[in-house]
């Protein structure tokens, strides 16, 4: 067996180090609906966050105001230009986000799959800026 493979196996056994992932919750840009169904979904989302908090994997997160409240600053050629609206006009917009800690992409995907808010969730790993190497 290759020495490389032996190494990987040993290290895998010894160490599991957490990674940060950002989950972006994408919706129709209208914010949460006030209907009873919307409120029920909202309650499940709260529960999801509570559970994540209790597991110690939650780092931070926010629900965003509807996309109509967005302002974009562009730096085309240097001078900042302020405009109304999101950075890209789309039916799908970021409605909120959570930064979580997970051992690897599989764990992050499991957490994202349990998201009760519908729409879609984009999972992005965060760059690790910790100094040790």
């Amino acid at each position: 067996m290759s020495i490389l493979v032996q190494f990987v196996r040993r290290i895998d056994k010894e160490v599991q180090f957490e990674m940060k992932y950002m989950l972006m919750f994408i919706d129709g840009g209208e914010g949460m609906s006030q209907t009873p169904e919307g409120q029920a979904v909202y309650a499940r989302i709260t529960e999801w966050f509570d559970k994540l908090g209790q597991s110690g994997k939650f780092k931070s997160g926010e629900e965003l105001q509807p996309v109509r409240s967005a302002t974009t600053i562009r730096f085309n050629g240097g001078r900042p230009i302020v405009t109304d609206g999101p950075f890209v006009e789309s039916k799908e917009t970021v409605g909120g986000f959570a930064v979580i800690e997970a051992a690897d992409l599989d764990e992050a995907i499991e957490i994202a799959k349990a998201w009760p808010g519908g729409g879609l969730v984009e999972v992005r790993p965060c760059v690790d800026h910790s100094p040790a190497m």
């Binding site: 290759s2 493979v5 990987v8 196996r9 010894e14 160490v15 180090f17 992409l105 040790a132």
Partner: protein, 380 residues
Amino acid sequence: MRLLGDFDLAEELVQDAIVEALEHWPRDGLPERPGAWLMSTARRKAIDRARRHTRLREKLTLLVASEPPPAAGYEPEDRLRLIFTCCHPSLARDAQVALTLRAVAGLTTAQIAHAFLVPEATVAKRIVRAKRKIVEAHIPYRVPAPDRLRERLEEVLAVLYLMFNEGYLSSGPELPERRDLARDAEWLASLLVRLVPDEPEPLGLLALMRLHLARAAARFDSGGELVLLEDQDRTLWDGPGIAAAGRLIARAATFRRPGPYQLQAAIVAVHSESRTWQETDWPQIAVLYELLLEQLDTPVVRLNRAIALRWVLGPSAALAELDSLAQELSGYHLLHATRAVMLRALGREEEAANADSLALELTANPAERSLIARRLAAEA
């Protein structure tokens, strides 16, 4: 956060901390709480080590994934990890295929490019991107947990079947130098069967591939033209190979967990075990398609079922089923080619010719083009 999985390592770290204490304390004086000092030093060392190891692991995963397999082979467990990493659902399908062929089957980038008729640079780019994502997104190098194994296995099977079809369906006499991807896929499937012996679907896929390969010799005539199943010289089929594949299906059936690959293999087995086209057990095939539809309700499966329906219920019933798929499969040449067959059986020659012309426009495969062209010529 689980930093350390084993006690020996923890002990080693505490020892490291004591060594550090022996250096520092005589020089800097005794800390206020020596015990706490030791623990926090050991913990810091653990974190350092964990970080170093995580990065080291990422690099090693990459190295393992980019090296062709050693001649002596990996340990089974490592091969299986590698397969699941290469076929991770977060990688694009073409990247999964390229990475699996490279890292598990040991093909060179040039061989993969040649097999898929794409530039070598394209394959190289796919592999580089996939490897970068494995590192950046921290795709784990391990076999999925038991509760996720079947779901992830489906992904692996889909990659292998796509590989096989690419090799098998697009193989033609005009490209004899093209690498036999179908054989590579079959080898990978047999590997998977050995690695995951408690799952029936890999057995089903392997049987399916072997049944196709066992009949490959009859697919082209001496002039290099594609021969339909109906017209194939069945004496050219590999009887013992077909029987062996049948035993794989029987073995899979003992698990009592039918799945799409087992059912597709069973359908092909019914065809393969029939001595002549006329003796084909169509009712059994139709039943197997019904079961398959329960597991895998796709327009293509419905199309294939319609072909069987022709021999059970007649061409009008088959045509009605095909027409219900017209919208979803309007860009699929086999829908039009199959419609042509049914229309011709019903004596609607002109419509049949139109359907064949559509099919001809929609396929690039030379063997299939030639077959449809011959059919159209026979009409004229």
